[in-house]
């Protein structure tokens, strides 16, 4: 357990000296801010022909999609770079178990993501100030729980893919492809097939968020889905490193 923390701490600190992480953080928060500003204008001036209700969904909604774009950039380096730099040999000959390494890497990235999300709380806070009687805080909690679970699953898959490659770019694109499949393609048959489409609807990564968590419905099946994906990603990573030894 302590090893997980040691590795996570190093990864977390590393994000703060990594240009990629700064670019990701900057774009992530700036785009949320822009969308937020446009929505506020729509709500107050009501010139654009639409006016979303003033609640935290204007923040968590776009954030979920931005996670999909940001995660591969944050995770591509995690294990692929250790292989490239030869430091994998250092870690695998230190008294560290494979799963500790993978979970530590994931935790470091997850904590960084949580930091970004904590920074984004400023937007619901502004909304709280400028609306009367304030925003629906339960809805906000549910939405944030959703993005946190989503980030956990995204990052775990990213770490798992990163363990398969010794090249960051390959890890980035593969992760992106997997996300596209899970986000858009898996759920698609549900709209076409008349019956027996529940399984596709359940496997759809975006559905659990947009139809449940972001609407204030915390479902057990949604939590189980995201946590299962997290476990699967970490398992892929651990297995990949174990097989790397046997090659």
């Amino acid at each position: 357990m302590r090893n997980i923390w040691t590795i996570a701490k190093r990864e977390y600190n590393l994000y703060f000296i990594s240009p990629v992480a700064y670019v990701v953080a900057f774009l992530f928060l700036t785009i949320i801010a822009l969308i937020f500003a446009i929505n506020i204008m729509a709500m107050t001036v009501n010139q654009f022909g639409f006016a979303p209700p003033p609640d935290s969904r204007v923040v968590t909604g776009p954030m979920a999609f931005l996670l999909l774009l940001a995660t591969p950039a944050l995770t591509m380096r995690l294990l692929a770079d250790e292989v490239r730099m030869g430091t994998m040999e250092l870690l695998l000959t230190a008294p560290v178990r494979e799963y500790e390494l993978v979970v530590g890497k994931w935790l470091g990235a997850f904590l960084f993501m949580l930091t970004l999300m904590a920074a984004s709380l400023v937007f619901p806070l502004i909304l709280q100030q400028i609306t009367n009687p304030g925003i629906d805080q339960m809805l906000m909690m549910s939405g944030y729980l959703g993005v946190i679970l989503l980030a956990s699953a995204f990052l775990a898959i990213g770490v798992g893919i990163s363990a398969l490659f010794s090249n960051q770019v390959a890890a980035f694109f593969t992760t992106m492809v997997i996300f596209v499949i899970l986000w858009w393609l898996v759920g698609a048959p549900a709209n076409v097939l008349p019956g027996g489409s529940d399984i596709f609807r359940y496997l759809d990564m975006s559905g659990h968020f947009y139809q449940n968590f972001n609407e204030g419905r915390i479902t057990l099946s949604g939590i189980a889905y995201y946590l299962s994906l997290t476990a699967l990603g970490l398992l892929i990573g651990t297995t990949a490193i174990e097989t790397r030894r046997w090659r």
């Binding site: 040691t6 730099m85 030869g86 430091t87 994998m88 000959t93 230190a94 008294p95 046997w246």
Partner: protein, 310 residues
């Protein structure tokens, strides 16, 4: 203590090491000598638990490297061939990270002590990326020494160092080797000769010789070669020396120098010396030329044309 028995590793169809058997004892520095691609790094990677062998067993301090990998890794300090460093970290942070992974108490003191051992105390706060190759090598060494391991495995520890640093590092290794088990690989023969108590010569995955540097030299040289310097025309002596008992051959090396060889069983030197003096020549020097480790190495690792590669 390292015990290796019948250790074999295949990379696909290629056999990197083939049935290695050896021991490295505590308090001894064992040198692993061989040309590139002989299987030195592969063996070390198996011993440190980085990868498992295809066949055979290896134990370190009584623990099997496959079944008790974690216990082995706790007891081994390893400096890989390409020094694994995080260039974006400072020397201190890097060592702190490794100390934390090894769960060392009082990490700060230990790091300071270790940095002093490798002579990098003044660079503790500097980024590893800004260090020279020699300094990086020493950071890697510090990492391997951090937990004061029972067994130290060093893959080419002096590569990339300048002559002064090489001497420092060799002294350091010798110091460490007094109470620990050290296994180091090198392809610098003089280095193995200088710091190792025992040498294993490995070629194509097999151990071709194993002994102390001194024994290797004498046992493999067979005939003894002696160089003779005299005042006067040495050519006149060749015939006389060649006629003596036990002398196998005489070669003229220069105007006043010749070289003769005698069978290892009989010492022809006194007879030769007497003969030179009795022939009214001044004997200036008589010196045994031992077959250098370099020559032994080349003989042992020479390509055998009949052995075809697949």
């Amino acid at each position: 203590m390292i015990e290796v028995s019948n250790l074999t590793k295949d990379y696909g169809a290629r056999r990197a090491i083939d049935g290695l058997n050896f021991e490295a004892r505590q308090g001894e520095i064992t040198g692993f000598l061989g040309p590139n691609g002989a299987g030195k790094t592969t063996t070390m990677r198996i011993l440190t638990g980085y990868m498992p062998p295809s066949d055979g067993t290896a134990t370190i301090a009584g623990y099997d490297v496959v079944r008790n990998s974690l216990e082995v890794r706790k007891r081994v300090g390893y400096l890989p061939e390409t020094v694994p460093l995080y260039t974006e970290m400072t020397v201190f942070d890097y060592l702190k990270f490794m100390a934390d992974l090894r769960r060392l108490p009082d990490a700060e003191d230990i790091i300071e002590e270790t940095l002093e051992m490798v002579g990098l105390l003044d660079r503790a706060g500097g980024y590893i990326g800004n260090l020279s190759k020699g300094m990086r090598q020493r950071v890697g060494l510090a990492q391997a020494l951090l937990h004061r391991p029972e067994v130290l495995i060093l893959d080419e520890p002096t590569i990339g160092l300048d002559p002064a640093q090489i001497i420092e590092v060799r002294n350091l290794i010798r110091e460490i080797g007094k109470e620990r088990t050290v296994l180091l690989s090198t392809h610098i023969l003089s280095e193995a000769q200088q710091i190792c108590d025992r040498i294993l010569i490995i070629n194509k995955g097999k151990i071709v010789a194993e002994d102390t540097p001194q024994n290797l030299q004498s046992s493999l040289s067979g005939a003894q070669r002696v160089q003779l310097t005299v005042r006067g025309d040495a050519a006149k002596l060749t015939g006389k020396i060649g006629g003596l008992d036990g002398v196998e051959s005489v070669i003229l090396n220069g105007q006043d120098q010749l070289e003769f060889q005698y069978a290892a069983g009989s010492d022809a030197r006194p007879a030769v010396a007497r003969m030179v003096v009795e022939s009214n020549f001044d004997l200036l020097e008589m010196r045994t030329i031992s077959l250098s480790l370099e020559e032994i190495f080349l003989t042992l690792t020479k390509e055998v044309p009949a052995e075809s590669e697949e």
